[in-house]
């Protein structure tokens, strides 16, 4: 069975009770990067660029945002120095792993003319496997959601699958909740529970920063076995637990989530939709940064000579007019209808379609909305003054 199928069938939180916890040092983390490289992975991790923490190819630990953190609010992100030298002392940034797994632009195929004949050239699948370093609990949940959407149905997405299969996940239990995080409300974090190959929790010991580490898969076990390590001591395990509870208690945002489907369904004509429409730019940023948004548009191109034509797909957004364009025009012409479509799909109708919420509480749509529209605030406004019956 392929890796993703194994992962999908794991009941969250059940599998690792027997797994041995070990402690590794910062040096061992470099060994981990080297191991993964040696095994042919393209190693991607957090790194500082343009005054933010993005996900990009990394070679060494020195490229991690050590000693940095972020300050996040609606429409606001600033990179800030930490008082300590934590390696993972920040929350999620502008990028998500979707950038690699569900690439923004994919050429699907092209067709080339040879005289009277044509030949179709299919896109060749990427020949590299990814290893992702520092994947958060909310992000693992987001990937599981995209798995369900893109691989779960009758027509699995082969392009996504090619990137997803064989990817290696080094997860991190969050030691710092961001200003717009609300995974706790969505039951998607801050503790990683499944879907990883190796998980890390950053703690401070006498010898400096260390990581309480667990393997979550056969591949993870093998890699871990090759690293310098020692069994984790009880205090270290307790410290790691405390890190998670501290983060859980420091969420930047909260949103009651158990009744969202009913709440929104009851309030499809709430005046708040008009209010948010006045602020919404219909720019699409929220959908671009959301780790679960998966919509794409297919575009054709042809060359001047009429010798080759190609078809590619790129990320699209329910905030564009073309997105709902059918004969006669766009179905959702107003900003009101587009914002409502996005939010009700994400929080309510996703459940009918895919069995879970489409939101993992990562807070990116709040931080990266240029005008700071806050999904938790919009829900709260509807909850506080909305209709209570259907």
């Amino acid at each position: 069975m392929s890796l993703w199928m194994t992962r999908l069938s794991q009941p969250p939180g059940k599998r690792h009770t027997m797994v041995e916890k070990v402690t590794v040092t910062v040096d061992a983390l470099q060994a981990l990067l080297d191991q993964l490289k040696g095994r042919g992975y393209r190693v991607i991790g957090p790194t500082v660029r343009d005054q933010t923490i993005v996900y990009d190819e990394i070679d060494s630990l020195a490229e991690l945002p050590r000693g940095w953190t972020d300050e996040q609010e609606g429409g606001h992100y600033r990179l800030v120095r930490r008082e300590d030298d934590a390696l993972f002392g920040f929350a999620v940034g502008p990028h998500s792993w979707k950038k690699f797994l569900h690439a923004p632009i994919v050429e699907l195929w092209k067709v080339v003319r040879n005289g009277e004949d044509v030949s179709i050239v299919a896109e060749s699948p990427p020949d590299q496997r990814f290893a992702f370093i520092g994947v958060r609990a909310c992000e693992l949940h987001a990937i599981a959601i995209q798995d369900r959407v893109l691989l779960g149905g009758q027509y699995p997405d082969s392009h996504y699958r090619a990137r997803r299969e064989g990817a290696f996940f080094v997860a991190i239990n969050c030691g710092e909740a961001g200003g717009t995080c609300f995974c706790q409300s969505m039951n998607t974090g801050p503790a990683v529970e499944s879907g990883y190959d190796i998980s890390l929790t950053e703690i401070v010991t006498e010898s400096g920063r260390s990581f309480v580490t667990e393997a979550g898969s056969e591949a993870g076990l093998q890699v871990l076995a090759a690293l310098p390590r020692r069994p984790a001591m009880d205090e270290e395990i307790a410290q790691a637990k405390a890190v998670i509870s501290r983060t859980a208690a420091a969420m930047g945002r909260q949103m009651r989530s158990d009744d969202l489907r009913e709440l929104l369904e009851r309030n499809l004509d709430h005046p708040r939709w008009d209010d948010v429409a006045k602020r919404c730019l219909t720019c699409g940023n929220c959908t671009m940064v959301c780790p679960t948004c998966f919509c794409t548009s297919v575009e054709d191109s042809s060359d001047l000579a009429g010798e080759t034509a190609s078809r590619s797909r790129r990320w699209d957004s329910c905030f564009t007019m073309d997105f709902s364009y059918i004969h006669g025009g766009s179905v959702r012409a107003s900003a009101r209808s587009r914002y409502r479509q996005w939010m009700t799909h994400k929080l309510a109708f996703w459940v009918d379609q895919f069995g879970t919420s489409g939101c993992v509480g990562c807070g990116r749509c709040i931080t990266w909305c240029p005008v700071g529209i806050d999904i938790t605030e919009e829900v709260r406004a509807i909850r506080d003054s909305g209709s209570t019956e259907g």
Partner: protein, 260 residues
Amino acid sequence: MGAKGRKPRLAVWKFASCDGCQLTLLDCEDELLAIAGAVDIAYFPEATRGKIEGHYDISLVEGSITTSHDAARIHEVRRRSTTLVTIGACATTGGIQALRNFADVKEYTSVVYARPDYISTLADSTPIADHVAVDFELRGCPISKYQLMETISAFLAGRRPVTPPHSVCMECKIKGNVCVMVAHGTPCLGPVTHAGCHAVCPSYNRGCYGCYGPMETPNPTSLTHRMKALGMGQKEVQRVYRTFNADAPVFRKESERHDP
């Protein structure tokens, strides 16, 4: 499309403009041979001599209408063209010279010219579409070479060009850029601006200047509110909306709300 056996005839026309968009066509160095192979460049004063004669399958029109002579000439161009494509901010919204639309042009000419009575000009600078029917518009100051290639290729293949009217933000994010407004506090017109430039300014850590004009459903009022929170004053707000596309109705309205 041209009749079977002959290449479609293409013409490039210039009205009030800086020639920057025409130069974009000349800038397509690698593709120029392919263009010349695919179409007959029958009239292009910037590049060849050529005489105005007969009918053109595709006309690329650069520039805005600022004189009564040009206002008549554009009808002649329309009559001679099967497909008329306007290229650039001047042709699509009146261009930077539409700043005159906010002032008294007589007063300007009297200040600038020794003999203002020699100057024959209209009070306004207007887009081509105000005068004749336009089949397709390419935005930008200047236009993007890729969009130009795409439009000519699409015309030749008989398909619709792919030039999406959504925000610059979409391109910015697809590229993996970091948002300059959110992360650096730099005001950016990307959210209200038509895509097409591949978010070139934000890619170099600058805010978008809006040179492609308004996107499909712009909300400048909300964006302005944010830019003011980032420290912009009344006058600066007016300035950012009054550049290459000053007279595009949505930008015009927003700048008029901000008279200092």
